[in-house]
Amino acid sequence: MNTEAGRQATFTQLAQTYGTDLYRYAMWICGNDALAKDLVQETFLRAWKALDKLKDNKAVKSWLITILRREYARTFERKVPKFTDVDSVVVPEDSELEPEEQTEMRLLRQGIMKLAPKYREPLLMQVVLGYSCQEISEALDVSKSAVMTQLFRAREQLKSQLRKDGVTGNVHELF
């Protein structure tokens, strides 16, 4: 990355490749559209300033997530916003679904927001960011076995919550 043009090209690629995924991840951990965008902006601002320190392109995703998580912790360590109305963000995307499917989506999203952070975060890393259990283990600094347990429990809680929220019968029939 010797030239300004090279830096800009690298940054453009990062923004285009990871911007949306980082926003989705931020949105799910803070539950607030405007603040999620702020977090992503701040993450990329810091990434731009430190771009020359990036030596391993394969690690760029983890690098960005680490910046975002630190920024989130720094900003909201005392007061975590309580917005949980992700439906207002996703409703247009669901308009093609049948009413029953829209209800399932809404319940599922509510269930995700109700998950304890120790379950929600690894689940989002896996589903939104495509992390492997090993990558989650490294990012969260917990054992791979613990990550697998958290992921298993996260999914079990979501299925259980769906049943509790009004969908009766075998969860297999639901999906």
Partner: protein
């Protein structure tokens, strides 16, 4: 060595997309395993769809501005200040607002505008069935009670962040249309302050416990509503 069903379910629940050859073989090792894997795959499709929030318009373009303006921080909150400078007027000056600074917002006005732009308009059109009990239960968590006169006109109520922790976002159905109220139990406001942004006007008022922002098309119509809110949002007995 073959995998037992319990272990298989645990692995499946932890990572349904696991491509490990032994795991994939196990997925087809019996009808029971096969059905479980199929159910897990269907659930995963739903889960992936649920978390796949749409790409916000202009996000990437905003990010790219970072690399084109190295000397300036493009943070939205800073852009917001410029927007506020252009559109916000303070009707009552001198004595200002006292607040505990929050890392997320630089001021109560910043918070108010940010919050309203986040979901203020969308909530105005929401039609919930809110009972008096719903209103009382939500406010009780903040050690506040509402008079029936206020609770009866609440059309939407939900928790929300404030500069100083948890608060409540309400839509009140008034004679002149829906009006937004942010109740901020721990934010102090000294003297009534009026501001305007976008196409709405807002007043920040101190209450008997905490403070509130009242937001609607015309702040001149807020005086009776402000009195109602002042008289209606009271500390629960034993919490004054």
């Amino acid at each position: 060595m073959s995998m037992n069903f319990s272990e298989f379910k645990r692995l499946l629940g932890a990572d349904p997309r696991n491509e490990d050859p032994e795991f994939r073989r196990a997925c087809q090792s019996s009808p029971e395993f096969e059905q479980e894997a199929l159910d897990a795959a269907l659930f995963e499709e739903k889960l992936e769809r649920a978390v796949a929030l749409p790409e916000p318009a202009g996000l990437v373009e905003e990010l790219l501005l970072i690399s084109q303006q190295p000397a300036a921080s493009p943070r939205r909150s800073r852009l917001l200040k410029f927007a506020l400078a252009a559109s916000l007027f303070v009707a009552v000056g001198a004595a200002g607002i006292v607040w505990k600074m929050n890392p997320g917002w630089d001021s109560v006005e910043d918070y108010l505008v940010d919050h309203y732009r986040h979901d203020g308009v969308s909530l105005l059109t929401r039609t919930d069935e809110v009972s008096t009990a719903d209103v009382q239960n939500i406010l009780a968590e903040l050690d506040i009670q509402a008079s029936p006169a206020l609770a009866d006109i609440v059309g939407v109520i939900k928790y929300c962040p404030t500069p100083d922790g948890k608060g409540v976002h309400m839509i009140l159905n008034t004679g002149s249309g829906p009006v937004t109220v942010f109740y901020m139990p721990d934010t102090e406001v000294k003297d009534r302050q009026t501001l305007a942004f976008d196409d709405v006007e807002a007043v920040l008022v101190e209450l008997q416990s905490g403070s509130a922002a009242i937001i609607g098309p015309n702040a001149e119509e807020f005086s009776s509503l402000q009195a109602l809110i002042y008289d209606s949002l009271l500390p629960l007995p034993g919490n004054s």
